[in-house]
């Protein structure tokens, strides 16, 4: 138990001291965090829903919808 605790502490300190000693890296982390916020919070939530997952509850329904899409004759509209 003590050995395990020590390993976790060492890993934590490794990362903690690593981040603390960063110079340029701090700015990069800020960019990464802003980017991840934009990608996963703004873009994913507001602009990119997974249509099949959000519109249908089961894989069976999803399959039926896509089958309907694939087998309905289509006319290409260039307007």
């Amino acid at each position: 138990m003590t050995i395990q605790k020590n390993i976790f502490k060492q890993v934590f300190l490794f990362y903690y001291e690593g981040f603390r000693s960063m110079t340029l890296g701090k700015r990069l982390w800020i960019i990464i965090l802003i980017k991840l916020f934009i990608i996963f919070v703004i873009l994913k939530l507001f602009f990119f829903p997974n249509l099949l997952k959000s519109n249908f509850a089961t894989d069976k329904e999803r399959g039926e919808y896509v089958l309907e899409q694939l087998t309905t004759p289509k006319k290409i509209n260039n307007d």
């Binding site: 490794f14 990362y15 001291e17 690593g18 981040f19 000693s21 960063m22 110079t23 340029l24 890296g25 700015r27 990069l28 982390w29 960019i31 990464i32 980017k35 991840l36 934009i38 990608i39 996963f40 873009l43 994913k44 602009f47 990119f48 829903p49 997974n50 249509l51 099949l52 997952k53 894989d59 999803r62 399959g63 039926e64 896509v66 089958l67 899409q69 694939l70 087998t71 309905t72 004759p73 289509k74 006319k75 290409i76 509209n77 260039n78 307007d79």
Partner: protein
């Protein structure tokens, strides 16, 4: 009922995907290659104990860190687009994409991200050898990430190892190894990662040359040039080899792409390869205009490279539309090619059979189900053609594919000369005095990016109109959403990615200007 397909929606969705993929690809190749260059440098440091090699390694590691930080997660957006803009496609590909991408997520990503921490934070905290091992694992991990997505892309270019489940309306993997070891996927992977090595080598040489022009960091610059020139030259030679393998696969699996790459409308036996040429603007497959305004070609080489026989027939665009030429199928039998019109007919039969199967299942009619399923299976190889109405729609943008291919190949050969010259000047100890070469080295950096992007344009524009070769064209793959919504996110991405690119260039140039320094990253 007949549904309308809004071409504006298809085109905006394609443009958005292309924009995202190309911006993503601005960051990826440098990561793929520079990690190996860094690993070589650190290996020399560990072997020799020379602190200058440690300084060099840490400097390029910082440059890699900037590129990695700005580029990381930009590829995730492509997966968002699959779910929103390309939902039919996402469903249709089934678990073919799921398996490779899941492996990527579990294996490569964790391998890469765990050891990156040791690479950056572990100096003086872990042993030299363990740090070196971490650096090598980051290099292999980042390349492994590329492996899985390129296997998935290879499957789209040549779908194998699966069967289509008509009940679930999706493809199911039958043979993982057939998907994983598909010759087109293997060639694509090797060719793509090697192009990243070449780009990274040129990048390192270009930045090092800038230091030499400025009279700064001479030892760092010269050592970096030596490592990168050797790595770049070997990679470039391998790139030619894998490029030849890719072209052979294209000739077998995607002959229309090959015809577009060469601007070849009228096929012939003993076809030559165009070294330099200008396709006739506005040329259509069914008109009588000449193919080229001018061209210089090497006789018989296209037949040889594509089919291993200088007298082999290479079909052009017109042949692939009209059919009627002989070809050898995958079992080695000689077949007569059918026309695009016949393929479209077969495709419509396949779609109708799937519809009948669906209706028969709803009506609980097992006889009709079996009958329609048999028809569907027999015609499935042309399934995607059933969504097209005009034979001409199977032709990609010929001038764009032609120019992209020739720019990529031309630059590839220039890079061989470039690396050879760099090595020559290093060994005769004339590098610093050759100012013209140093300036050329800096100017070659953007050319490496142009060559890399051109390669992707050939691969992706050249296979239009297909998202999955012969099975699913873009018109059937797209989601039924509002085109204006796609337009909004297109411009949104343009702003976000441009901001990231500006940030990358600004931070990187500042760091290069500062040069190597002691301490952390």
């Amino acid at each position: 009922m007949i549904e309308n397909v809004d071409m504006a929606l298809v085109n905006w969705s394609r443009a958005q995907f292309a924009l995202t993929a190309m911006y993503h690809w601005l960051f990826v190749p440098l990561t793929l290659g520079i990690t190996f260059i860094i690993a070589f440098m650190e290996t020399i440091y560990v072997k020799t104990g020379d602190p200058e090699w440690k300084r060099i390694t840490k400097f390029w590691m910082t440059i890699f860190g900037i590129n990695f930080a700005i580029g990381v997660a930009t590829g995730i957006i492509l997966e968002f687009e699959f779910g929103t803009n390309w939902s039919n496609y996402s469903w249709f590909v089934g678990d073919i994409f799921g398996a490779p991408l899941a492996i990527e997520g579990i294996m490569a990503f964790f391998l890469e991200s765990t050891f990156i921490a040791i690479m950056f934070f572990g100096w003086n905290k872990v042993s030299k050898k363990f740090h070196l091992l971490s650096t090598w694992l980051v290099a292999f991990g980042s390349n492994l990430s590329a492996l899985w997505i390129l296997v998935a892309n290879g499957w789209m270019q040549s779908p194998v190892g699966m069967h289509f489940n008509p009940d679930a309306a999706r493809n199911e993997m039958l043979n993982f190894w057939e998907v994983f070891l598909s010759p087109i996927a293997i060639n694509k992977f090797l060719h793509t990662i090697t192009s990243g090595y070449v780009l990274a080598a040129i990048f390192v040489i270009g930045i090092s040359a800038w230091y030499l022009i400025k009279g700064r960091e001479q030892l760092l610059a010269k050592r970096s040039i030596v490592i990168s020139s050797v790595f770049g030259l070997l990679s470039c030679l391998f790139l030619v080899y894998t490029g030849d393998g890719s072209a052979y696969q294209v000739a077998q699996k995607q002959p229309m792409k090959l015809a577009a790459m060469e601007g070849l409308y009228q096929g012939s036996k003993g076809a030559g390869i165009v070294v330099l040429g200008m396709p006739t603007p506005g040329k259509q497959y069914n008109d009588s205009k000449d193919e080229f305004v001018f061209k210089f070609e090497i006789p018989k080489l296209l037949s040889f490279l594509g089919y291993g026989d200088t007298e082999a027939f290479v079909p052009g665009v017109n042949d692939l539309i009209n059919g009627g030429f002989e070809y050898t199928d995958k079992d080695g039998n000689t077949q007569l090619a059918i026309s695009a019109e016949q393929k479209i007919e077969q495709g419509k039969i396949s779609i109708a059979a799937l519809r009948e199967y669906k209706n028969a299942k709803q009506n609980n009619d097992p006889v009709k189900m079996e009958e329609s399923l048999l028809t569907f299976k027999e015609s499935f190889r042309y399934f995607g053609y059933g969504f097209l109405n005009d034979p001409g729609s199977i032709i990609p943008n010929v001038p764009l594919t032609f120019y992209s291919f020739h720019i990529m190949v031309g630059l590839g050969f220039y890079f061989i000369l470039f690396f050879s010259l760099a090595l020559f000047f290093v060994f005769v100890d004339k590098l610093e005095s050759k100012k013209w070469f140093l300036r050329l080295s800096v100017l070659t950096i953007p050319l490496a990016y142009i060559a890399s992007m051109s390669g992707w344009i050939v691969a992706e524009v050249g296979r239009q109109p297909w998202t999955i070769q012969d099975l699913l064209p873009t018109v059937a793959a797209v989601s039924q959403i509002d085109a204006s919504a796609v337009q909004i996110t297109f411009w949104l991405f343009m702003v976000i990615f441009t901001a990231l690119l500006i940030a990358e260039i600004k931070i990187m140039t500042k760091q290069i200007n500062i040069g190597p320094k002691e301490g952390g990253h």
